[in-house]
């Protein structure tokens, strides 16, 4: 079990290009994150948990789908760690598995309203589905 996590942590680091060891644990990323209240694990915790190889816990968390891709954590991190890239890499580990899409094309019609822009549909499919 531990080894799977270690392999996955390496994969997340490779995919994201993030070096979690650069983090100085200041918490600024989480302090500025607009999705903080909705998240079980916050951006600084993603960094720490990837460093410790706790990938399965992250993969099981709804936090993956609460990130707004606003890049506030990326912009405001004094160490240029780019936590949002870890959130995305772990989410990809989940949705790249067979049958693990968070959003399916058949779910879309029920979510539509008159005014919803194409951009919203395209981006939802890109973020939540493979």
């Amino acid at each position: 079990m531990h080894d799977t996590n270690k392999d996955m942590a390496e994969q997340v680091i490779r995919m994201s290009g993030v070096n979690p060891r650069k983090c100085m644990k200041c918490g600024k990323c989480s302090g500025t994150c607009p999705a903080y209240d909705e998240m079980e694990y916050h951006p600084h915790q993603f960094v720490a948990m990837v460093e410790k190889g706790r990938i399965e816990e992250l993969m099981a968390s709804k936090s993956l789908y609460k990130c707004l891709s606003c890049f506030a954590c990326v912009e405001r991190c004094p160490r240029n760690v780019e936590p949002a890239k870890l959130v995305e890499a772990v989410r990809l580990l989940v949705i790249r598995q067979q049958g693990k899409n968070y959003l399916k094309a058949e779910d879309l019609p029920a979510l539509l309203d008159e005014k919803i822009p194409q951009q919203a549909l395209v981006s939802a499919m890109r973020k939540y589905s493979k």
Binding site: R14, M15, S16, G17, P34, A35, D37, E38, Y65, K66, L68, S69, C70, F71, A72, V74, E75, E82, A84, K85, E88, A89, L92, L103, L111, D113, K115, I116, P117, Q118, Q119, A120, L121, V122, S123, A124, R126, K127, Y128
Partner: protein, 260 residues
């Protein structure tokens, strides 16, 4: 001045006004927008993972098409601009991505990030110039108190976007001044509207919009402008107590230039 122009999917459908008023205004300002042939949807979200290659290709195709025409690539939608600009940066500076994307595309000449991606607002600032824009205004929007809603995608990450100061931008306020109105600076103008989550978690999106509207109202804004169709939708659909009218910046531009 001629630009290659990338409209993107939403500007052909739900955000037609953003596109239409941009074209009319550009014409009035002597700028020619040549829509790229056969452009494909950029995907609306920049794929951050290094090994996401296929999802970056539609952006690379558009960038390479502009290179072929030896033109800068003009964008209007904040999301398209974000995706094209960041993929272009990858093609310039990330060898892993550049090699793989070129292996897929097999262009006559490899694409290596040569194209300049220019947002319409940057074109107004850097090509036309806000002083010249001011002179071209026939119908100054006097007395209107307008808040610029920047959102995330134009500004961050500033190292790549290089659009303006990410924490204290001025470009849209300068634009507002040039068209004769009064800009209202409010703290949440560069915060995220929560648009990406509007379909999945409406309550979370409402919370974001509430904060932004409260901040704008408190500082005296009477209307907001944006360059992003998703911000436009979300600020309108998910405003709860305070609700200011939100318009595309190009609509106000066309109004001021007398071409609306």
């Amino acid at each position: 001045m001629n630009f290659s122009y990338y409209p993107g999917c939403t500007l052909k459908t739900k955000a037609k006004e953003l596109d239409m008023y941009a074209r009319k205004s550009a014409e009035a300002l002597g700028v020619t927008m040549e829509e790229l042939e056969n452009w494909q949807c950029c995907g609306a979200v920049y794929p951050m993972a290094e090994d996401e290659i296929a999802t970056k290709l539609s952006a690379v195709r558009a960038l390479a098409a502009a290179k072929e025409k030896k033109q800068d690539l003009l964008t209007l939608c904040s999301a398209c601009h974000h995706v094209l600009k960041r993929v272009n940066d990858d093609m310039k500076n990330n060898e892993y991505i550049r090699t793989r994307a070129n292996n897929y595309l097999k262009l006559d000449e490899a694409y290596e990030g040569e194209t300049n991606v220019v947002h319409y607002l940057e074109m107004l600032r850097d090509t036309v110039g806000f002083d010249n824009l001011k002179k071209a205004v026939v119908n100054p929007l006097k007395g209107r108190k307008i808040g610029a809603f920047y959102g995330c995608l134009l500004l961050r990450p500033s190292g790549v976007m290089a659009f303006d100061n990410a924490e204290n931008p001025t470009i849209i306020e300068d634009f507002i001044k040039a068209i004769g109105a009064t800009p209202v600076v409010f703290p949440c103008r560069n915060e995220c509207c929560g648009g990406y989550i509007a379909m999945d978690d409406k309550a979370a999106a409402q919370k974001q919009v509430e904060r932004i509207m409260d901040s704008a109202v408190e500082h005296g804004a009477e209307e907001l402008i944006t360059a992003c169709p998703l911000c436009m939708y979300n600020l309108d659909a998910n405003a709860t107590c305070h609700k200011l009218p939100v318009r595309y910046f190009t609509e106000l531009l066309a109004e001021a230039l007398g071409v609306k």
